[in-house]
């Protein structure tokens, strides 16, 4: 086995990758394209698809036939062949293959799901029969439940568009790109790049006639900045870890991490981050204050509160014994009511490079963009075909057909799908202020730069732990504040929004959440602008 040093590797690397370090001009002219680094082994050569899509379709058809033959009223199945590759600038590489299937069966009011990993006709047939048998048994004990609204049958194929397939890039160039960013360290800021690429063939079929095949790709390229000191535990020297825009979860290829614009943005982020060390440190004054939240902090807050609270499964009590029941219930007292600031608009976005973009969801429903909160009024929930029937009355009032808007998803086919649209966006004010203008507008308050949120089990409130908190006096940042937390009630917080930042303040974060019973993790992206909120409770001294 030959071991290549980093130095020798640098010498051998392609011009395309070297351009990454060389700066904007070189990068701009040397974007690598698929096949330009054929001399080296591509990631895909180590991890090609293991199953022909036609085999996956055959397994899907077999599953549905077996379930229907066994007596299912309705059945759907997801079959996937998934490949994951991850590269980090501290030089690690990870590769995962996952293949599996999951069949969901309804018999009367009994619902059953069986997931498996043996990709054979016998195994899927056994699973389909088992699910049907279980659903039959449950149906005899079950009461009523909302009917499933499966919508029109879908058929066809779709492929995620991307410029550079990350699996066609060589392992060397992947590592080089992460290390390239890693070498941008400043004297007091560490830069760590972590690229995660996931591609898969996913087939969804149902007894209603749906059979769709999608070649999906998702990218989670992350680039973190971390304040560096020998004594990182010293709160006066340590600054938290930050993701750098535009390294955000997206539906894109390797182009998401290349280009002059990326390089410039990292440079600017480093400049801004380094400058944060310059402020004197101090303690907060407890009380109620005006607070500016940057886009990252807001996106984290929306992801920890609005997102789970708007999940229809939580609203309907399906997670009563798990994550909890949403505070945004019952639907008849929420939908159509002005509950938040009229400046708040929040919804699901799909298409383009939005994370999770696909043509169909895991129930074969076409994905759509749709509002959840429009100018402060809750207008919809995150639903799926299996529970949207509970909103029939509201949809009727709106003179809209009762159909899932799309967004049912499971990360692995052998786990059950749940309502988890890929990208959620809080709308910026088109002519809204910049972050500097927002800070200038505050006489006595604070500026939260990034935050961790701990919500409660109804998403009704929680605690904000700022990554960095600044004091603002007379429109200027005066000190960096240590050991302080902010408490909030969700409804009150989003009522007290007094200003929404403009498009330049938008930030996107990766939001990993656990939900469902049994719970599963889903990755989503949440984007939000900076906001100005009045009367936020500041509590000094974390203990």
């Amino acid at each position: 086995m030959s071991v290549v040093s980093r130095r020798s590797f640098l010498a051998q690397s392609s011009l395309a990758s070297l351009a990454l370090l060389a700066g904007p001009t070189a990068t701009a002219v040397a974007l690598p394209r698929a096949g330009t680094n054929a001399a080296k082994r591509s990631v895909g050569s180590f991890a090609p698809p293991l199953f022909d899509p036609e085999l996956l379709r055959t397994l899907a058809r077999t599953t549905i036939s077996a379930a229907v033959d066994a007596g299912a009223d309705y059945a759907d199945v997801r079959v996937n062949d998934q490949r994951f590759a991850g590269f980090e600038s501290v030089i690690t590489g990870r590769l995962f293959y996952n293949a599996g299937f999951g069949v969901r069966v309804r018999v009367g009011a009994g619902h059953a799901f069986v997931g498996g990993i043996d990709m054979t006709p016998d195994a899927v047939t056994r699973a389909a029969r088992s699910a049907t048998t279980t659903a039959k048994g449950l149906a005899k004990m079950a009461g009523t439940s909302p009917s499933w609204v499966t919508g029109p049958a879908a058929t066809g194929e779709w492929t995620t568009p991307m410029e550079i397939d990350p699996f066609e890039m060589s392992v060397e160039d992947q590592v080089f790109a992460t290390c390239g960013y890693g070498h941008m360290n400043r004297f007091n800021v560490l830069v760590t790049a972590f690229f995660q690429w996931l591609v898969e063939t996913r087939v969804v079929a149902s007894s209603a006639g749906t059979l769709v095949t999608q070649q999906l790709a998702r990218s989670v390229p992350l680039l973190f900045l971390k304040g560096r000191s020998k004594q990182w535990y010293d709160p006066e020297l340590y600054l938290s870890t930050f993701g750098v825009a535009p390294f955000v979860p997206s539906t894109a290829g390797f182009e998401a991490v290349l280009g002059a614009a990326r390089h410039d943005q990292v440079d600017r982020a480093l400049e801004e981050f380094s400058s944060l060390f310059g402020y004197p440190v101090g303690d907060a004054e407890p009380g109620r204050k005006d607070v500016i939240f940057d886009g990252g902090a807001m996106a984290n807050l929306a992801g920890a509160t609005l997102l789970p609270a708007l999940s229809l499964s939580s609203v309907l009590g399906e997670e009563q014994n798990a994550g909890g029941i949403s505070f945004l219930q019952p639907p008849e007292q929420v939908l159509g009511h002005l509950l938040f600031s009229p400046q708040l608009t929040f919804g699901v976005e799909t298409g383009g490079t939005h994370f999770g973009t696909a043509h169909w969801d895991d129930e074969g429903v076409p994905l759509t963009s749709y509002p959840l909160i429009e100018r402060g009024t809750v207008v919809n929930y995150i639903s799926t075909a299996s529970n949207v029937g509970a909103l029939a009355s509201w949809y009727g009032q709106q003179k809209r057909p009762v159909l899932s808007p799309g967004g049912s998803w499971t990360e692995h086919a052998n786990n059950p799908p749940q309502g988890a649209p890929g990208a959620l966006v809080m709308t910026a004010s088109p002519s809204g202020p910049s972050i500097e203008e927002m800070i200038k507008s505050v006489k006595d308050g604070y500026y939260v730069y990034g935050a961790n949120i701990r919500g409660d089990f109804q998403s009704a409130g929680g605690v904000i732990f700022p990554d960095i908190l600044f004091e603002i006096k007379n429109g200027r940042i005066t000190r960096r504040i240590l050991n302080t937390r902010l408490e909030f009630g969700t409804k009150k917080f989003f009522k007290q929004l007094t200003a929404i930042g403009g498009p330049t303040t938008m930030r996107t974060i990766k939001n990993d959440s656990y939900s469902g019973v049994p719970w599963g993790m889903v990755t989503q992206s949440v984007a939000a602008p900076a906001v100005h909120v009045q009367g936020v409770d500041i509590l000094a001294n974390r203990g």
Binding site: M1, V3, V4, R6, R7, F9, R41, F46, A47, L95, Y97, N98, A99, G100, A109, H111, A112, F113, G115, G116, I117, D118, S130, T133, T134, L138, K140, M141, G143, V171, Q196, R218, Y233, P235, L316, G317, E318, Q320, N321, A322, I325, F327, E411, H412, N414, N415, P416, R454, G455, F457, Q458, A460, G461, V463, E487, V517, P518, W519, M521, R542
Partner: protein, 517 residues
């Protein structure tokens, strides 16, 4: 220890339920029995012979003399009740084959897959071997033949047998869940409350094989029943849960009744000013704090000065609090690989290093730290993963006796969403949930609305006033520590056993009111 019980004996427990419900349950049983007739279906995870054959095949596919393969097969079945009688069942099967080789302290090259088809596996492994070739060695951590710590790492290891399998639990996966389901539905309907429950059963098997000849095998079963009862108007709720490796030790009716009773007692909750109170923490509440302590035992963090067991570097070079008193002398915390009620998982984590027995805190003194492979090799310590399964010593004081001796305090049934939010102190936040009561003059005076807490468990463990009898706690919905890669989670349910006593502690920080119910 393999326990076998006939279905007849399992069903002979006294039950008092309407005949119609049992008839339905019996029909359910008959239908489920069809599945059990399928060869191999009843076991749900691979047998030792099957696993060995697969591991042998994998090892024979490679020419690398230092390749390790760990194959984990996990089946989980979860039945849920929502709103009294909406029923859903999720059965899923997870296989992870982790193949890789260690090239140095910091370099591990490997692949993970759920594929077990031998032809496809051969393709994966051949590619993995090719992947090893162009590995880039970091200049920061040179490896030389003379001081290669990997060599000692490859030496022989002793594995203890893992005996945590109960056939009765597997039987429940196929049959008994239906009976319990019907009984719990009946409890919820009769109580006129909104009932929700989860019945989770799992089987796990794992084999570790190293090309140099090392083999280790383990298998376990686990089960858990949890229930929440909620007032129809959403003004109060109660929760209860039980967990055991042997399903026959669980009683779904008892769980439902306790949740219902807790919800009824919790009616009419009043607001109580936040602050520091004497707290009487039920076992589930203690468990929610203790399970979050796991990463705080990691030496790699502690030696960096982080956490309550770390010491910021000082001129004398002292790095951690090993050997120092960190808790009340009545507190001992340990992990026993073969504790029949405990035991951890995975059985052979971190390149197949064996789990064993480790006492983390003995009579209040910190006695052990956890080392991952990389840090263990650098420090010359045997790798031992941070404890996900913990047993804690207890006492003999009942919860009723604790309440009787409390002048002014709060009883907490359980916590929700507990997480460490301050690394240096280990302070955690979370909320009380499903049962919180104000105690005055030795009696429960009134239910109170929920609180947010902000507390270091190390303060709690030093402020102990009384300890009760330890018992395994159920967690129900409890995501694992930290994030994972896409889609991780379901195969981690139920969580590893945490066996803790109810505790009475003074000066517990109920930091704010929480509006959630």
């Amino acid at each position: 220890m393999t326990h076998r019980k006939s279905m007849q004996s399992m069903q002979s427990h006294p039950r008092s339920h309407p005949r119609s419900t049992l008839t339905v349950a019996e029909a359910f049983l008959r239908e489920r029995a069809e599945r059990a007739e399928t060869p191999g279906a009843s076991r749900r995870v691979f047998t030792r012979a099957e696993a060995t054959a697969l591991a042998d095949a994998v090892v024979q596919m490679t020419s690398n003399p230092n390749l390790g393969a760990t194959i984990t097969h996990h089946a989980v079945a979860v039945t849920t009740i929502v709103r009294n009688d909406r029923l859903k069942c999720v059965d899923s099967d997870h296989l992870t084959l982790r193949i890789g080789t260690r090239l140095g302290c910091n370099i591990y090259v490997g692949v993970e897959t759920s594929i077990r088809d031998l032809t496809l596996l051969q393709q994966v492994i051949k590619r993995t071997e090719m992947q090893v070739a162009p590995v880039i060695q970091s200049e920061d951590t040179p490896l030389s033949a003379a001081d290669d710590p990997v060599k000692s790492f490859l030496g022989p290891r002793t594995y203890l047998p893992v005996e945590l399998w109960h056939d009765t639990t597997i039987d429940a996966m196929e049959h008994q869940r239906g009976v319990v389901l019907a009984q719990m539905i009946e409890q919820f309907r009769t109580a006129n409350l909104l009932g929700a429950a989860s019945l989770a059963v799992c089987a796990r098997a794992e084999i570790h094989r190293y090309t140099a000849g090392r083999t280790a095998w383990g298998e376990s079963t686990d089960s858990e029943i949890t229930a929440t009862a909620r007032m129809m108007d959403g003004t109060a709720s109660g929760w209860s849960g039980e967990a055991h490796r042997d399903w026959t030790k669980l009683d779904g009716v008892r769980v439902a009744r306790q949740a219902i009773a807790m919800a009824n007692r919790n009616r009419g909750a009043v607001r109580l000013e936040p602050g520091r109170y004497t707290a009487i923490l039920g076992p589930a509440a203690v468990g929610a704090l203790v399970v979050q302590m796991s990463p705080l035992f990691e030496a790699v963090r502690i030696d960096g000065g982080s956490g309550p067991y770390g010491i910021p570097r000082t001129p004398d070079g002292r790095e951690n609090r090993l050997g120092q008193r960190v808790a009340d002398p009545r507190i001992t915390m340990w992990t026993d690989h073969n504790d029949p009620d405990g035991g951890d998982y995975p059985f052979f984590p971190d390149d197949g290093f064996p789990s064993g027995n480790n006492t983390w805190i003995k009579n209040g003194v910190l006695t052990a730290l956890a080392y991952d492979v990389e840090y263990g090799m650098r420090r010359g310590k045997t790798p031992y993963k941070a404890p996900t399964a913990i047993r804690m010593s207890g006492g003999t004081t009942s919860i009723e006796e604790m309440i009787a001796t409390c002048d002014r305090g709060i009883y907490v049934n359980r916590f929700s969403g507990v997480e460490v939010v301050d690394g240096p102190s280990g302070s955690m936040t979370g909320t009380t949930r499903d049962g919180c009561f104000f105690i005055k003059d030795g009696k429960i005076k009134t239910p109170v609305t929920n609180f947010r807490i902000y507390q270091s468990p190390f303060l709690s463990l030093n402020n102990v006033m009384a300890l009760g009898v330890p018992q395994r706690v159920a967690f129900g919905f409890m995501p694992p520590h930290g994030g994972g890669h896409f889609g991780e989670a379901v195969d981690r349910w139920p969580l590893d056993p945490v066996i803790v006593p109810p505790l009475m502690v003074h000066d517990f920080n109920f930091s704010a009111l929480c509006d959630a119910i």
